[in-house]
Structure formats: structure tokens, C-alpha cells
Amino acid sequence: MAGLLRLMLKEEFRVHTSYSGRTMFLAFPAIITLFSLAIAVTSERLFAYTPLSDAILLLHASVFLYGLSVGAFGFLGRQYLERTNGTRNYLVAMPGILPMRLRRTFLGMYVRDAIFYVALLLAPATIGLILSVPVTQFRITSIGALFGTALLSFLIGMSLSFFVSALYMRSNAGFSVAVAGIAALFAAAGTTRTIPLSWILPGLAAHQDLPPFRADVVGAAELVLGGLGLVGALVAGAALLVPEQFEARATNVREVLPRIARRLRRFGRYDTLLSKEFVDLLRSGTFVKMFFSFVTPLLFLSFTAWFVRYGLQVPVGFNTVFYAGMVGFFGVILYNWLNNVDATDYLATLPVSVAQVIRTKLIAFLLLTSWVGVGFVVLLAWLNADTRFLWLAIPIVLVTSIYIVVVTAYLTGLRTNSFLFDPGVLARFSVMSMLPDFGLTILSFTIDRDLRFAATGILLVLAILVATTYMLLKGIDAKWRGTEFGE
């Protein structure tokens, strides 16, 4: 197992460095360290507005969600085994031709990604906190407790995701029941509090048992052991669920491409590529993945806002305009999914350019998802009985979502997931996304005090975003000219 794991780690490293280069990729954890150091050094000001307990809650929830997104090996492994990655092949597919067990390679993927993402994110962030000690006087033991408990939350997210996606390899019905059950569990814990949060996030509960909150070390140790047991049970269950002999289901389907292409005639030279995007999304099940990966952070955002306003009684003006800005910026998740449906190698033999395919995906995004964002904002406005500023919120969600997706497309092309690990690209993306997001958030908080000022400011920000979107759209050709499919 150790030999396989070493090779899998090398493989993962080489996949990432093949896109951004060795130096740039290795700079990524260094940037995370600096980022964490900067937050730690300014934490006194941060804690004046957000109590430590809330910051800890957000941290654990975030790493848990991150673990969920990382651990879906059942989906990912299936893609590898079905060779939808074009010319690339991975170690996980080797049991097909070598005397290896598929369960073992899937288990290897779990351990590989646990090590990889801890080394890439959690460990550098912790080092940043340790480096801040001379300034912040944080206790090393507290930092250690934070790392250990956050790691547990991350592993629980990964294991849960691994288990559910492995279940998907066996049974669609079983998968649906498991997803519904887990959603009900989280809804019960998050909203009605009928289930203690420690049941689903023992890492958080353990953290809350330790100083500076409490000093119940035995209680924390019990929770950590229980959490590790849960991780072990989920991983073992997932490994057992992986079918030892994988057989791709031969699928007969009804032909839909010509019909969809006819309906999309108005899109001119994009009609055929666009209709293929839709067919891919339908048949690969990516629509469902996109829906959940868009709705999950939105629910998390809503819950956080609700918690801050009603749970903590902090009078922050989370109005419809604020939500509109935030929802728009989640569009990047959807664009990333559009790039993960299928390999594009075969397009290299056709008179189609990379820039043309990027623009097709932008059109697909616009047609498929802009209404989801608008619908969500309208729903939130209605639920919060705050429909006063919908006239402003709807343009915001439309402009920001298109802007952020065009920025992502311009910077990352058809390899969003990989290029966002390139520190140079990530830095540009962060500046281009955070600046307008902060601007809109601050202006949304002032809307009740001075509507004219806030509305003028927001319209100005939107105008800048529209102009930038236009320039970036124009620049996609020049930026991606000469790039080959599969690069």
C-alpha cells in the first residue's frame, strides 16, 4: 500500500505541475502561509467584530465543506475507469490490467488526497499561525488543537463524501436515500437544533471543549476518538462498497443532439458546440452535481447570515442587495463544473479553437444558471420579507455572476480547477473577485442609511464590472490563441 500511495502522490503532483509549473505550484502553500499569517496578525481587529467562537464555527464548517468537495472519489474514480479523460490514464484504473484490487486503489486515492490537501492547505495555514506567535502571543497548544480538530472536520467531510459517492457506484436509489438522510441530519442540526452539532462535527465540539472555551480535555479526547471512529467506519464502508470488478454500463440513449441543435440555431456558429454542452450535462449527470455544488454554499451563506442576525443578535444589515452580490460570485463553481464533464482532445482534429469553446461554455453558463441566481435572490427576498431593493438586487446578481465567470474563463480557460492552484492566476483572480465583492458588500450595508449614495455607488461598481467583462471577453481570443486542446 505504501508503494502505491507514493506513486499516487507523485502522479497527483505531476498532474498539477503539468499545468502551472513546479515552482508556481510549490509557491501555492507559501502563499497560504502568508495569507494565514496576515489574518493572524490582524486577528485582534477581526475578533472585535466576530467572536472567536463564531470564527471557529465558520472555520470548521468551511473545512468540512472543503472535505466534502474533495472526497467524491466514487464520481471521480468512475470517470477515470470509463476513460472520459481522453488520452490521460491514472493509477486508479490499473486494477483492470494488473493483479491489484480496485478497493485498494480507491482507498489509496482517499489517503493520497488527505495527505495532499493537508500539505497544500491545512499545514501551511497552521505554519502561518505559528509564525505569528511572536506578534499574537497565540499558544502553540491552541494552534495544535485548532489544527487537530480542523483536520478531523476535514476528514469527516472527505469520508462522508467518499462513502456517498461509493454508494452511487452501486445504486442510484441508495445514493438518493443517503443524500436525503444526510441533508435531513444537517438541517436538523443547523436549524432546529434537534440534533447536537457535535454529532456531525465532532471536531468542532472537541475544539469547543478546549481552552480558551472550556478545559474539558477528557471530553475533547472522547469526541476526537469518536470522530476518528466515524471516519474509519465511513472509509471502511466506502471501500467495501467499491465494486471489485468495475464494468461500465453500456448505455443506449435516445438521440437528442440534432433536436437541441435545431433549437439553438439562433446562436450561429456556437449552435453545435452549445448543443453538445447541453447533451453532455444531461447525460453525465453534471446538472445534479452543479445544482448541489451551487445550492450548498448558498444554503451555508443563508445559514451563516441567519445565525449572525438571529443567533448572535449582531445587527448587521444582511439585505437582499448583499445576498445578490454574494450569489453572483458563486458562479465560478458552475463554470468549473462545465470544464469537468469530458475531455476535449478530439476537438483538436476539428476546425474549432480553444477560445471558441471557452465562449461556448460562457453562453451555456448564461443560459443555464443565470436564472438560478436570480431565482435564489428573489426567494431570499421573499423569505426575509425584504423585496424593497429587488430592482437593484437583480441587476447585481446578473452582472456579478457574468463578470466573475468571464474573469474565471479569461484566467483559467478550460482548466479552471488546475489553474486556480497556480499562485499567479490565483492572485489575479483574488484581486479581481474580492475588490468588487467588498465594494458591493460595504455599499449594501449603507443602503438603509443613504439609499441615493449606496445606489449610485453600486451602479458605478456595476458599470465598471460591465466594462471589464466586455474587455475580458474581447481579450479571450488573444489570451488563448495558440493554446492546444488538452493543454
Partner: protein, 236 residues
């Protein structure tokens, strides 16, 4: 005017010279074969000629179009069978040919698809997703896609790989007929026996450089067959 004219084509990956100043000229109506050991640079050369890859240096003209400056125009004129048979995973066999035909704006598409389905006996997999097809069937689809728009020039990278003897024979006959009708073919392959039956001229590439070029008789020289001559040329 030659169908393909390349001079000084160089491709460098970091410190590795994959191609070292290659010159190739292929006349219209000619069947040209590029042969060489694994990793010699055959696929790289073919990808550069078809505008799939930019050379580090050198000039490439295909059907009188600059393949470096106008790769899309070259791709619209020629047919390409790539090294790896990788049609899109989530389209059916029939939808893939429809997709290619629409992208290439082919007239009378239904009739052309029907002809290729009949040629390769693909009716049984018409509504199967490409990801579920066998390698041989995928290869047939890639071949059909390359010839769908009836190009004047085709580039074939190991076109016979994965085909059973029945379809190898059928494809050989089709290619011979295609050349007889005035078509031009550039094939990269290892299969010397097929080259002997199809190619008018061949070149042997080794370590990124052309080490021999000429008609089959010129390449064979005093050797009894092409295989022996090939082994002598590459020093194996």
C-alpha cells in the same frame, strides 16, 4: 503546387529536441508514409502539419495554407485520424458524426452518415454512448469522421490499429480507391507491410530527424523487403 510543404520544422520541449529541422514535401494524389521507431517524432510531425501543434521553428504549408498562422483553415480543409481514438464520451456514435458534420458544415449530412454507418457496419451501436464503445468501433468512428466531408487530403496516425483483419482490408481498399480518385494521404505508422501495399513514397524518422526518404524501391535498395531495409536504416 505540393499538397504538403514543410521546411525546417523544429519542435523543442524544454531541453529536448523532438523534431530537428524536418523538410517534407508531398505531391497531390500521393500516398506518403512516415515511419520510425517509437518516440521518433511521427505524431509530433503529424500534429504540426495539421495545425494541432505549433512548431518552435519552421514553415508549414498545407493545401497552400500556412498551417502555423491559420490552423483552423487547415483543419477545415483536411481530415485527421488522431493517434488515440477518443470521440466525446457522452454523444452516441450517430450523434458524434452528426456533430462533426455540423461543425464542418457538411451538405447532405444524413446520407453521408448513413454511408459510413453502412461501410463500417455501425448500425448496431447507433444509439450507444461513445464511452461504452470498443476501441475498434471508436477507431471506425474516428475514420468516418475524418472522411465525412470528403477532404482532398487526409492525415492518418496509425489508422489500422484496433481494426480487425476484415476492416483492415476494407480500409486498405478504400484508401487505394481514394488515392486513385485524386486524394492525398499522409500516414504515420509502424506497419511496414501496409506501407508496402499503399505508399508511393515514404520517409523514415529517427530521433526527430529524417534519416531516409524516397520511393519504396529506393528505400528497399538492395534489401529483400522493407522491414529489413527499415531495420538497417534505424540501426536496429
Amino acid at each position: 503546387m505540393p499538397a504538403i510543404e514543410a521546411s525546417g520544422v523544429t519542435k523543442r520541449y524544454g531541453s529536448v529536441d523532438a523534431l530537428k529541422g524536418i523538410d517534407v514535401s508531398v505531391d497531390r494524389g500521393e500516398f506518403f508514409g512516415l515511419f520510425g521507431p517509437n518516440g521518433a517524432g511521427k505524431t509530433t510531425m503529424l500534429r504540426i502539419l495539421t495545425g494541432q501543434l505549433r512548431p518552435t521553428a519552421g514553415r508549414v504549408r498545407v493545401l497552400d495554407v500556412d498551417a502555423v498562422r491559420e490552423p483552423l483553415r487547415v483543419k477545415s480543409l483536411v481530415g485527421i485520424v488522431p493517434e488515440v481514438e477518443s470521440p466525446p464520451s457522452y454523444l452516441t456514435a450517430h450523434e458524434y458524426l452528426y456533430f462533426v458534420g455540423q461543425v464542418r458544415k457538411v451538405d447532405g449530412l444524413d446520407a453521408r452518415i448513413a454511408r459510413w454507418f453502412q461501410f463500417f457496419d455501425l448500425d448496431g451501436v447507433r444509439t450507444n454512448l461513445c464511452k461504452d464503445l470498443s476501441k475498434g468501433t471508436r477507431q471506425k468512428l474516428m475514420l468516418a469522421a475524418a472522411f465525412l466531408h470528403e477532404p482532398a487530403l487526409v492525415f492518418l496516425d496509425e489508422p489500422f490499429i484496433n481494426l480487425d483483419p476484415i476492416y483492415q482490408r476494407k480500409l486498405k481498399d478504400f484508401l487505394a480507391d481514394y488515392i486513385a480518385q485524386g486524394g492525398t494521404a499522409f500516414m504515420a505508422s509502424h506497419l511496414l507491410d501496409i506501407a508496402e501495399k499503399l505508399c508511393d513514397r515514404v520517409a523514415v524518422i529517427q530521433d526527430g530527424a529524417i534519416v531516409a526518404t524516397g520511393t519504396l524501391d529506393e528505400i528497399r535498395g538492395s534489401e529483400r523487403d522493407l522491414e529489413t531495409a527499415f531495420l538497417r536504416i534505424v540501426g536496429a
